[in-house]
Symmetry: D3
Subunit: 248 residues, 6 copies
């Protein structure tokens, strides 16, 4: 059985990471996993939420959303509905947790970074693309802070962002474990898993779901193997994207 | 290093499952994992959501909430705030997915079951207690349907609920993998994981998070081992609770 | 004509008041009027609402709610609907006014007590049970403040809570005035009245409604007689419940 | 001790009822109790709420609101705040219940009447003025239905509106029971009571509150006496206002 | 072709401006353009919005709303719907911008004026009537501030309100440009335009719309001519209304 | 005095119109006016709003929004705030009215087109860019309907879209009328105007505002001249963009 786009089971879709994609944000990255396109911006803002004041620590949070026609049929806007849906909440929280795992919040002082991940075009894997792109946007924002000496004393970009983070989806379709599912595979998957790894191959978050089925230890291990390998390739893509200086 | 309540690392807190805890619902279970107490009710309602009409299939969904003073300090009510928070959304969705994994929705016809999981007292592990209790409440609701011949043709309780589901939290505290974390352990955990298993030891959902840290494959495996064993004990507790007939 | 549960017209349902029912709140009471069960917690919080700052006075407020399946059919959650309904607002305000009538808010300094009354199981009279239970929870919270010397100078539990407050419903069914209506009586009542009295038999609040009928002065007097006598018995039950020291 | 406007304790403020005050509604009444001015419109609309469909019965409901600067200081709009407050809910429900007590909803068929009571200027007693004015607006709307033969068979205005309803506030200020409190008296009252009576002197609703105090049976009786007499005068004012035909 | 009320194409409806219409607001004006009646109140409040603090400047804003039965059929309340609609937002913003054009906000110090424009009865042109009436209410509020020496140094009513502002609608019906459209004309108009002018004939805001058609330069010029002349007459009516002292 | 980017007063910024920018929508256009970038998608959906059912007519509406970091500083998401702001409402309505002016809604039958205009990067003129791009997206959606024979009988793309529509901002900065303001000019403008024209130079909508000033007839005429000429150039750009067939 072949994949819709002819890929091998352990093959990522073409990954493209474009920095400086919009002009206002401290970090702005368009990340593409095949036809999935997510704009990730990192905004540095003064101050921290009320519950964190006086701690001396910064804060990092994320908000994920989809444009109404990022999908095959139009979705009503959450702003018009007047509330954020459960899926949006769940993904926003996942992105926030994943990126907080790679940053030393002391280095920010009592300032915040907001990572906005807006899906311009969806074809499966939007949350994992968002995490992968958000890391690069965050890196640019931290570099921006470093360049204006706004990190707390002795901190550098390297000590502030002490790990890189990337994410990929894996799943079992017709019994076969596959890497980086596109939308058609996602809806057909018996098991669906999102894996968030550091650049050195450690886990930051692992979420596996078998809504229309269950999975055993062997299947889990096969999926983890695929996911770790995929994250490794994404880490390389992130490093390449970050290898050049950004002209501002 | 000892646990706050003196348990062994691989030991559950005392589990108590009380059926028929309130009188109106088709299934009503108070589940206790130590000091964590969650009321799980299963409500049978006619009809299905609009997007499912005409499918011939039923639907199952869940809503989780905490009473304002279930916790050490009071939380504002979401009804008063006018919106459901991200954590609530995330947990409600997890419970719904987990329970849908054990039911044949065709057996319901176009009818729905809502599982309300309200935390009366919280001491860590509320979502896993909720899943474990909700399964028993669901079982009673399906029995209620069977008793009034409301399942679609030839279906029985056993074919409708073809698996049991239970859940438990595991985590790493000070380097030690532990089963069924209480609140003080939960806030201290470097890695936090929720494992949802069937009675036969297969995975329904696995969610591991290392917000303040990362975890490697060995640690993940240790946590999975603990979680699978814990779920097995919970499945036994569920079976015992369900072994007697319910007087209505 | 006999009552559904065989009671006499002037007879209360069995009343049960359990203190310390949950472990986190400063006061936590499960109150039962027959099958009606309401959890009343009193939470001490620092500070007062903005409009009261600088007054030197404390504040007391209440929030009432029902679990979705406290009733014979499931009610949608107000948090999910995104707004608090009129009935909920009306009852929350009644409880707050009733309890403010028995407390000297100067004794709290600029601190607040929130009384959360959550109906776990409903069978008529939830608001009157809530008031009756909330008084006991409030007493425990004030005792907690006294024990840590947090009341303003020279104030004691007795001077802070200078009255007790209890409430009961009365109504006319098929021409007969009855005390403490259960749900089936409540929906059949021509006149429905809630009476809130102090332990010494004075009125705090009187609300009589004849939605499907009207009532004359004689009927009103008969209902008031019933209600005062009922509140007197509830005051005794409260005193008994409070007669023992609470182990915390 | 004299009243702010020199009235006797048992004297109403000047009452003015102007029908046809705006041109679009089926009933439109400006009611004035001294400086309190409330616009009451009755709108006939086709259909009934979903829960009442198929009953053959009509429905009557009410919505109360205050213009932002009806009061001495400006109140934020509930539309801008995005939610209806507790006081608004409580009063809207009181008005609706009171007016439903005087109408035979079968006569409407499955149609609804909405009574909108908007306070243009507030000086105490807005809810009682609203009920008193809403009755007249409702009468005009029922006459409008009768004139176009839209009442169900054999029903007339007189059989449809089988009672009149009026309301007045009473209270105890400095120990003295007084009728029809203005704002300054309202805030100073130890006991505050709203009495809704039919034209024949029966009670529809009685609500007495002693937030800053309590009241005994004698005080209650004195207030009821005052209120019944006041409602009687208001019923006369309503009858006079309705004595002339309305030119549409 | 004649107009519904027999007016000439360039003729305003009868204009009536009543000051001091309600008693609490610093400025309170009922403005009538024929059957359109709008209550405009100006409320002086301490402080300015957060984003303006420290600027030394005051702020002026406006909120427009319609009573539910100001119109031929009843509109649901925005408070009950829980959100402000687009039309309401659009008109509130237009009124605010128009009135800010005539006031020196430095004269207020860091204080605010809120102009509430509530439509009591609608027959077309509610927004233009609102602007015209709000100017007079604003003038009374500024006079009130001047009388208590609350304007910043050396400022007078004349220097604070350095221009007057009035507004009128114009439109093309069946090819004919007309001034001050009533509702029936408004819905039939091919082109609809609102013109806001100063008392000296300069433009503050011009909004022309051809939803069911388009318009050319000649038509635009004819509408502007009509609108400027109409505003001139309204400015005279405002001046006359303001010519007498207000007894407070 | 020169413009920030050295343009002449009557010169547009570089205009770029990219069709088929995303893959799911029936029309998808990225429009760029200099640094302002707006994604305009046209979504064909079955059915019409309730108030339009049975009319035989289609409907067209628009929703405008900005990504949180489209601007120099981050704006909170309206979905998170739980309501759509006044500016968003105002612009969404303007876009909808403008595009409805160019379409024959009978041709759609009872179906709808939603034009979503999401600002990816803002530098002034976002609403005029949105209108200009939305027309092209709408054209592609109508072509899509025509290609599948979904327009009602005998209608073609040309008869359905009987006009083109484009829009541009104009304003007066330091006394000089200028075309197509960038953000820095927009905030400095004494008069700000948005002009919506058909391809044949007729007006669809004209909105001129002098919030910090007023403007006279000569200034208005100068702005109109500039705006008409600018729209003419935009109409040419639209025609060029549409000159090629779209590969789907």
């Amino acid at each position: 059985m072949t994949r819709p786009d002819g890929r091998k089971a352990n093959q990522l879709r073409p990954v493209k990471i474009t920095r400086n994609w919009t002009m206002h944000a401290e970090g702005s990255v368009l990340v593409e996993f095949g036809n999935t396109k997510v704009l990730c911006t990192a905004s540095v803002t003064e101050g921290v939420p009320r519950w964190r004041k006086g701690s001396g620590l910064g804060w990092l949070t994320s908000e994920y959303a989809m444009l109404p026609r990022a999908t095959t049929t139009r979705n009503d806007r959450e702003a018009v509905k007047g509330k954020v849906g459960g899926r949006t909440h769940e993904i926003s929280r996942l992105i926030g947790r994943s990126l907080r795992a790679c940053i030393d919040l002391k280095a920010l002082g009592e300032n915040s970074i907001v990572l906005d991940c807006d899906v311009l075009q969806a074809d499966g894997g939007t949350r994992t693309a968002a995490i992968t792109g958000a890391y690069v946007a965050l890196h640019d924002a931290v570099s921006w802070l470093a360049a204006k000496n706004a990190l707390t004393r002795k901190q550098t970009v390297a000590t502030t962002l002490h790990r890189s983070v990337a994410a990929v989806s894996v799943g079992i379709i017709a019994g076969e474990p596959r890497l980086d599912l596109c939308y058609d595979e996602d809806v057909a998957a018996e098991v669906d898993m999102n894996i968030v790894c550091t650049g050195t191959g450690e886990f930051v978050e692992v979420q596996g779901t078998g809504e229309d089925g269950v999975f055993n230890r062997d299947q889990l291990n096969a999926l983890l193997d695929l996911g770790i390998a995929g994250c490794q390739q994404l880490a390389t893509a992130q490093a390449l994207a970050l290898a050049t200086d950004l002209k501002r």
